[in-house]
């Protein structure tokens, strides 16, 4: 490792340094504005420095900064930026000492970015732990009963899942003698390998990753944590933490060539189908918006896995586009929840939204747009994303999975529309929707997200082009 190797790591370092500076700042003088602005500036600078990374740079055997990693880091940074904006107004008045929130936010962003760039089990695990440890605190941040319950649940279960992951890594290392993704396949083809051990290792890694992605049957923590965490943090858990892990999963299984193991393929297919059904069926009659969105994210990860299973060039395109669409919609939906939440509790009951259109037509329209996109209605990014997934699945003749996906889209439509119907119904008696005025930054963010959503739904070409270029050099 030389000084030259450090250059491509600048984006990651900017994030790390910002968090340290904020910590030092808080030690001497607490200022919400300072922490918040420095966080935003740090993320923005890191984002800009991403463009300075030229070509594909392998930094030791741990990290690689190629177009793929840069794209995902960019996506993660953008999402964190949105979360930071949303949370500044949300946290106000919910507890004292809200400055540390930003340190944790930056650290978990860093962890997720490391995941997107990692090519080695060590960086994988370190990234995952940086991400998770910060998340425990973030989830419990506003310290009401629900928060803490959610934080502790996440802590215990994430630690358990990390154990599975570590065991899996150990088995793989034991069989192949390497922790580098790229050298693993040559290690596998060597003679005298115990295939059972190898596959068990894969399965255990899948378990650990599956927990982070909240796919069935490792999904059960999701609704509790989503419901308990503060709304902006939920948005963060649903996007940033999953984005990094998914980027890693995709890179890992492409480099190890998952298609060489039909049974592993079968396991992922099982997880995909189980996630789609579990997510959609559990959301069906659910009355809590945050839980509905949690279940819906389980289902969406299931859809993503269908594209993941498809082979060929389409796979990366479909997955990446869908993930971008998913990021936008999820941030938007939780953004609306954040904006409407009162100080006592988050606006998470479906009744809170009854007749929202009457007194907050804009918010209702934005929420509808997000829900339409989640449901995959045309002219939204969600439709294009789903279309690509179906096309990718059909292109690889995964008919069973595609049929499951279509059935589940139909089921999903029910509960999305249920919320939309409520939005436009006669107003009920809810104190939440009577929040006096909406913060300006949050409103702007939501408008921007909606514009992006429709833009990608109507004119997806630039993004697709970008993804194509990225996959070329993959």
């Amino acid at each position: 490792m030389t000084l030259n190797d450090l250059a491509p790591l600048i984006p990651l370092m900017v994030i790390a340094v910002s968090s340290v500076i904020i910590m030092l700042g808080i030690a001497f003088y607490r200022s919400r504005a300072f922490s918040g602005l420095l966080t935003l500036a740090g993320i923005a600078v890191a984002f800009i420095t991403l463009f300075g990374v030229q070509g594909t740079r392998q930094v030791t055997s741990l990290l690689i900064l190629d177009d793929y990693a840069l794209f995902y880091i960019g996506l993660i940074l953008a999402a964190s930026f949105v979360v930071a904006l949303l949370s500044s107004d949300y946290l106000e008045g919910r507890r004292e000492n809200i400055e540390e929130f930003y340190i944790l936010l930056l650290l978990s962003t860093l962890g997720s970015s490391v995941l997107a760039a990692s090519t080695h089990f060590v960086s994988f695990f370190i990234g995952l732990e940086i991400l998770s440890v910060s998340l425990y605190a973030l989830i419990a941040y506003t310290r009401n009963e629900l928060n803490i319950e959610a934080g502790v649940k996440y802590l215990v279960l994430a630690a358990a899942s990390s154990a599975f992951l570590l065991f899996g890594i150990a088995l793989l290392y034991g069989e192949t003698g390497t922790m580098e993704f790229s050298r693993m396949s040559s290690g596998i083809s060597a003679q005298g390998i115990n295939k059972g051990m190898l596959l068990t290792g894969f399965a255990l890694v899948l378990t650990g990753v599956g927990f982070k992605l909240a796919v069935a049957p490792f999904h059960m923590w999701t609704p509790d944590v989503y419901e308990g965490a503060p709304a902006p943090v939920t948005a963060f858990v649903a996007t940033v933490s999953k984005g990094g892990v998914f980027a890693l999963l995709l890179r890992y299984f492409i480099q190890v060539d998952m298609h060489a193991y039909p049974s592993l393929f079968g396991a992922v297919a099982f997880i995909a189908v189980a996630s789609m059904f579990a997510g959609n069926l559990l959301a069906l009659l659910q009355k809590n918006i945050k839980r509905i969105l949690a279940y819906s994210s389980i289902a969406h990860l299931g859809y993503l896995l269908v594209a993941f299973l498809a082979g060929g060039v389409m796979r990366v395109t479909a997955v990446t586009f869908y993930l971008v669409a998913y990021f936008i919609t999820t941030l938007g939906a939780f953004g609306v929840v954040t904006m409407l939440s009162g100080k006592e509790r988050d606006a998470d009951a479906v009744e809170d939204y009854q007749g929202l259109f009457r007194h907050r037509p804009w918010l209702a329209l934005i929420f509808s747009a997000m829900l339409f996109s989640l449901a995959g209605i045309p002219l939204t990014a969600g439709f294009i994303g789903k279309f690509y997934i179906v096309a990718a699945g059909a292109g690889s003749a995964l008919w069973l999975l595609v049929i499951m996906l279509v059935i589940n889209s139909a089921i999903g439509l029910y509960y999305y529309l249920r919320i939309i119907v409520v939005l436009y119904a006669q107003p009920g008696h809810s104190e939440v929707s009577a929040v006096s005025s909406l913060p300006l930054t949050g409103s702007l963010v939501l408008v921007l997200l909606t514009v992006l959503l429709l833009w990608l739904g109507v004119y997806p070409e630039p993004l697709i082009e970008m993804i194509h270029r990225m996959t070329m050099r993959f």
Binding site: L199, T200, F270, L282, F387, Y388, P460
Partner: protein
């Protein structure tokens, strides 16, 4: 000064870049719609009017420039297309947002933007007192945008988008005064009836795509003429299915019943959507896909027969209406019948020509009728009008010009030239027949009778109502312009100086005439002129000189029955209620719990069941969740290792 300068250099310097502006034509109304929709009722009326009218005006100006350029230095092959972007790209399925300009779409674009602009201008005053002013303009702009997408579309998917878009706007605008439930029902009826046609058209599109493997209309036409011999099953099926769509949209037999009810919308809407533009979308569709219809002579024959029947049936119904707008509605159905007749006998350019002149004079008549209706405090019944020619002189004269054009009074009116062309081809074309010609002639007679019945009842005789409002400048101006167009619009295609059909011949094949000897073109013109003049005289005799004769006839039992029959539009509504709606509702009721329903009910039941079952797993207990992860790990290992 600036604009003049620009106009001078435009054709010279801009060259092909001019065509690059094509996208602006639908973009302006779209932007207008978005601006109006976003601000909603908060926008001041004046600004809403400026945005609503200005956006359509701007696209009219762009259309004018592009048109001038197109005519002065035609692009290669007399067509140009502009691809904006590809929506999605998956294998062969590559629908792009591409606009296609050829003489056919140019003419349509012209009419839509210009007539659209005049009607918007008119509406700024006509709708001034209404609630939902900016909503009105938002819908109208959206309509213009959709209509432009429809005529400029290069592929079936985009065309379908425009097609459904205009349908949606039509629905929204018919039900504009939604507080009256009757209006909502009329809107619903229009939507559902046209939907029958749309479904057929959509199936047709799918059939074309799957058999020819492309969405691009020009490629489809090319491949169809190579792949399918004349009269082959696929060609006939595709043409017939598209015809279904055209019948619904253009209110032709048997799907014509929605148009008279659609008059529930504001009058400018009727002028723009239900007279000048949208209802002629069917004509456009058939003209655009004329290759298919040539490949399916049976269907083309059917087009002619339907056109002839429709023009007669609607003509008789128009005779008996009281409501001024319903007269005009039946007249529209009848005139589109003429266009279908022209399409059916292969006189493509004649149909387009009649579309253009009809857009001018029918919009004029609707706008004139609107002025009258407004003047008499929303009185629609012609029998409560009368003697208005003194009170509303400008309205009277322009209405008279429009009526003359509709009745095709010889030589000076646009309608004469276009209708004459159709009548001539219905006789002389390869596919023509004396029967078509006779039907057209009878229709012409009916047309001039009901038209002048309307003129005499409204503007002559004793004054019955009090004029409370006179049209202002913004209403008079469009009337004047349209009146001028209703006269000179016909001069672009004179016998032996066929400028218009020369212009469109690259897009639409010219008609093949056969039996020249049966009746010379000059002779047929003389007969047609005579017929329309006779019609006017009959109207004069029956409705101005001796109205008692008519009353005596209608009070006779047989006359009364006939009157009622015609008045109700030949009882189609009654028939459909008995044959379709009734049984459909009966089937729906009795069959509520049938097998199909059981599947859906079962799905819902299972959905709920599994929801409840799965919800039990969400106990909120960490140890159970950890157990879940473990079980999941065991399953995953089980599948990976042992499968």
């Amino acid at each position: 000064m600036f604009s003049k300068h620009w106009m001078l250099i435009a054709p010279a310097r801009c060259g092909a870049e001019m065509m690059e502006l094509l996208w602006l034509i639908p973009a302006f109304p779209l932007a207008g719609f978005l601006a109006l929709a976003v601000t909603g009722a908060r926008m001041p009326k004046r600004l809403a009017a400026i945005i609503g009218t200005g956006s359509v005006g701007a696209s009219a100006v762009v259309a004018l420039f592009i048109g001038m350029h197109f005519i002065s230095s035609p692009p290669q092959g007399h067509l140009s297309s502009q691809t904006l972007w590809t929506w999605i790209e998956i294998g062969e399925f590559r629908p792009s947002i591409t606009f296609y300009l050829d003489p056919l779409s140019l003419v349509m674009t012209f009419v839509v933007t210009f007539v659209g602009f005049l009607i918007h201008l008119y509406s700024t005053e006509f709708m001034a007192e209404e609630e939902g002013y900016s909503r009105f303009f938002a819908y109208m702009n959206l309509f213009v945008c959709s209509m432009l997408i429809l005529v400029l579309a290069d592929n079936l998917l985009l065309l379908y988008l425009g097609w459904e878009g205009v349908g949606l706007c039509s629905y929204l605008l018919i039900g504009f005064w939604y507080k009256d439930h009757a209006n909502g029902r009329a809107a619903m009826k229009a939507f559902i009836v046209t939907r029958v046609g749309d479904t057929s058209m959509a199936i047709g599109f799918i059939l074309l795509y799957f058999n020819l493997g492309t969405l691009n209309i020009q490629e489809i036409m090319q491949r169809a003429s190579q792949a399918w011999p004349v009269g082959s099953t696929f060609a006939v099926a595709a043409a017939a299915l598209l015809l279904g769509g055209a019948l619904g949209k253009s209110a032709q037999l048997p799907l014509q019943t929605w148009l008279p009810d659609a008059m529930a919308g504001p009058t400018p809407v009727s002028a723009l959507i239900h007279a000048a533009t949208m209802v002629t979308a069917g004509v456009y569709l058939i003209a655009r896909t004329n290759v298919l219809f040539t490949l399916a002579p049976v269907v083309q024959e059917a087009v002619a027969v339907i056109g002839a029947l429709t023009l007669l049936i609607a003509g008789f119904s128009a005779l008996t209406q009281h409501d001024i707008k319903r007269v005009l509605a039946y007249s529209t159905i009848s005139q589109i019948g003429y266009m279908f007749l022209a399409l059916g006998v292969g006189a493509w350019s004649a149909a387009l020509f009649h579309f253009m002149t009809h857009a001018f004079f029918k919009a004029l008549l609707f706008l004139g009728a609107g002025a009258v209706i407004l003047a008499l405090d929303y009185e629609h019944n012609m029998f409560r009008m009368g003697g208005l020619r003194k009170e509303l002189p400008l309205t009277f004269w322009t209405f008279l010009i429009g009526s003359a054009s509709l009745s095709a009074l010889p030589l000076v009116t646009a309608g004469f030239y276009s209708k004459d062309l159709i009548l001539w081809y219905s006789l002389s074309s390869e596919d023509g027949s004396p029967w078509f010609w006779a039907a057209g002639m009878a229709g012409a007679l009916l047309t001039s009778i009901y038209t002048f019945r309307m003129v005499f009842l409204i503007f002559f005789g004793a004054a019955k109502g009090r004029v409370s409002r006179k049209p202002g400048m913004t209403m008079k101006f469009p009337l004047l312009i349209l009146a001028v167009l209703s006269i000179i619009g016909g001069f672009v295609e004179l016998p032996r100086i066929p400028i218009f059909s020369e212009f469109v011949k690259t897009a639409l094949p010219s008609a093949k005439t056969l039996h020249e000897g049966l009746l010379g073109e000059g002779m047929q013109q003389v007969i047609a002129s005579g017929v329309s003049l006779i019609g006017v005289s009959i109207a004069y005799l029956l409705f101005l000189r001796a109205p008692l004769n008519v009353e005596r006839f209608t009070s006779h039992p047989a006359g009364k029955a006939l009157h009622r029959f015609w008045f109700s539009g030949w009882g189609f509504d009654w028939l459909y209620n008995k044959v379709f709606v009734g049984p459909f509702i009966w089937i729906a009721r009795t069959n509520k719990d049938d097998f199909i329903d059981l599947i859906y009910g079962g799905m819902a039941w299972y959905g709920r069941f599994f929801h409840v079952a799965l919800s039990l797993t969400q106990s909120g207990k960490v140890r159970w969740y950890a157990m879940g992860i473990t079980i999941g790990a065991v399953i995953t290992i089980g599948i990976t290792v042992f499968l």
